[in-house]
Symmetry: C2
């Protein structure tokens, strides 16, 4: 396999054309993996008091790309700080992409990832969008599996808990010319955790700040998509809301909530079942793995049998559709009584209910509440969460979504 290094103009005035030297560079070769285990294993954290994303496991996986040689020999080694030149493009120009995945310990003591190939294809696309050195997602997945095997003692045995994985690629070119980084580090870190979030949320809709736009990077998992949301998030918290609901444009299209995809469940006009709507992938919406899985489940007639609404026992037909909807659509459905559920979905949160949405100083959308569900989820959200968790936790097999780490 020949990987072409990123050609780039060191001095934009001096180099007129993109130069791609046809040299053979080393690919990311997991068969050469070197493993150096820690001699000081950490104590496992107490799951009851665990905060998401702060207690990292003993080891990390790493590899680096150099334009002259290609990918280095991958390594699993003790979790340790990175040493980076202060001019590195990951620190100067936001050359950072990542993925979020979870490994679950099943009742059969096997460890499973959830549809990891979707994360790997997205990682490849994110890397390409930022003009970072190309990466082979299949090799990254092998590396992830090896790390998970080594860290098996870190994977919680408690239902609802998992081992969160964070594959990251950063540009490490140490130069201030604002051009593509021809050097990169791949690393994978991991930490045990529960659901990032499980009880019903309130959202503050914002329209003065936008998360993404046509022709931007909102459809990729790029570090720089996230920090611009921290100030609105803080303002939402200060007003008593859990998360921001991102709107877009004069028509106030509903986009995402915090760093999660959204779904709305609406009673259909003809009384036949429920519409399950989510914004389409027009480049402004992250193509979430949980989002895709919810759409596929909602399209599956065998899944519909799990949906009990208004006390019915024969199930409810769902009509999943990727389509634009607006804040005023939500207000209208809320007023008419057709709004059944509003859901946030994502790898960290899985499926979370929303109970109200504020905008411009007042609550504009009240979503029906479901106090009998432990997570406050309605019939569709509860079934989606249960099905996805059952596959993730290895309690159920569905379309090969659960991938055993072997």
């Amino acid at each position: 396999m020949v990987i072409k290094p990123n050609g780039y103009a060191e001095t934009p005035c001096g180099v007129r054309a993109h130069e791609e030297p046809e040299v053979s560079l080393a690919r990311l070769d997991i068969s050469k993996l070197t493993i150096r285990l820690t001699d000081a294993p950490k104590p496992l954290p107490d799951l009851r008091t665990l905060v998401f994303g702060v207690s990292f496991s003993d080891h990390m996986a790493t590899a680096s790309f150099h334009p002259a040689t290609g990918w280095s020999t991958p390594e699993i080694k003790p979790y340790a700080p990175l040493t980076l030149d202060p001019a590195s493009s990951c620190l100067q120009y936001g050359c950072n992409v990542f993925e979020g995945m979870k490994a679950y310990l099943g009742p059969d003591s096997k460890v499973r990832l959830f549809r990891p190939e979707l994360n790997m294809r997205r990682l490849e696309r994110s890397v390409e969008r930022l003009a970072l050195p190309p990466i082979d997602g299949d090799a990254v997945l092998e590396l992830i599996k090896r790390l998970v095997q080594i860290e098996k003692r870190w994977i919680p045995k408690l239902s609802g808990y998992s081992f969160y994985l964070r594959p990251t690629v950063i540009g490490t070119r140490a130069a201030l010319g604002p051009v593509a980084s021809d050097q990169a580090d791949l690393y994978i870190i991991a930490c045990p955790g529960g659901s990032y979030w499980s009880h019903p949320a309130s959202l503050l809709a914002v329209s003065d700040t936008v998360r993404a736009w046509p022709g931007g990077t909102g459809g990729h998992k790029i570090g720089g998509n996230y920090s611009p949301g921290f100030l609105p998030q803080r303002e939402a918290s200060a007003h008593g809301y859990n998360q921001v609901l991102w709107l877009f444009g004069e028509e106030q299209r509903v986009m995402e909530a915090g760093a999660m995809n959204v779904f709305v469940v609406v009673r259909r006009a003809d009384g036949d079942g429920l519409d399950v709507l989510t914004p389409p992938l027009d480049g402004t919406i992250l193509p979430g793995v949980t989002r895709a899985s919810c759409l596929e489940l909602a399209a599956d007639p065998t899944f519909h049998a799990h949906i009990s609404i208004d006390g019915s026992i024969e199930g409810t037909t769902l009509y999943p559709t990727e389509r634009v909807f607006t804040l005023s659509d939500l207000e209208r459905w809320s007023t008419s009584g057709d709004l059944v559920e509003f859901l946030c979905v994502g790898t960290a949160a899985v499926v979370v209910a929303v109970h109200d949405i504020g905008f411009d100083g007042r609550v504009v959308v009240r979503v029906p509440t479901y106090p009998n569900d432990p997570n406050g989820l309605g019939p569709v959200g509860r079934a989606l969460r249960e099905q996805i968790l059952a596959v993730q936790e290895g309690r159920k097999e569905y379309k090969g979504w659960g991938v055993v780490c072997e």
Copy 2:
């Protein structure tokens, strides 16, 4: 002075309100600066072969913010790699802001910065936009001045060359919850350099990729604004163009070129002087220091005497205006013969001429060329570049723009 730390929700579900403990935190106090000089000074690079932004000077300035204690004692120390946790928010979520500045050695052997207070106010705003711990730009400027004094031997004595400074603030919170970083590092690195770019440029206009959007971060100097432009930049290079010309919206508004602000110089319909137009600061345009300086110079009647057009010796009146213009405006002005100049301006490039603009596979705008000028600049661009360089290099005093490092 009391600085409030960044309150943030460690678990968005657990913390409902923004918490701002009223503790007194250390401010960035330059009177406590510690200096540790290198015992292995580097050889100075050969200016004739110098590539921009790769040969860093002997020292760097640093300070770090911790939510429990505030800003650490600032330090000037040998240039060295940073040690960062792999989970740091600067590597995961694009919590990176920076500034670009230049120090020039004057004929009086004094070292001058150019309007550094504008950079410092912009740095403060960038830090606020990403919800990083607040920073006192005046203290940062003092630190920059001290670094410049220590690195004086690195400042080129050659006209057109300078000492490029890169103040950077990165979020260093080592946790994966996507919330504001309550920890940060400030550092300032520097390198000698010539004009990043001086000969006339060709631009490839792009409308499918969009640099900035209303409600986005395009009006701030944030790392994540830059890497999304690297792929279009590479494509522009592959087609023989130097830089990307960023368009916006269906009307194809002209925004910026690469990482530079743009100006267009157009003959006025009434034959009285020249319009000097640049896009307005509506949040999508970086408020560049060179941009602001060009606008102010163009509004100054004493500056107009320097503009000789069509062989006139009495100068030419300029009408600087911040207003929207489109690619089709440029095409129209080019066709009618009213287009006099198209300029890119920025700290690294100062003022650069554009000779043609391509779009959709062909050259759509041809700008008059000025082969008699060493940089190919027309009358307005040449006068702007000369005046700004004269102030930067300490050959001329103007409105206090040149600030001596003492």
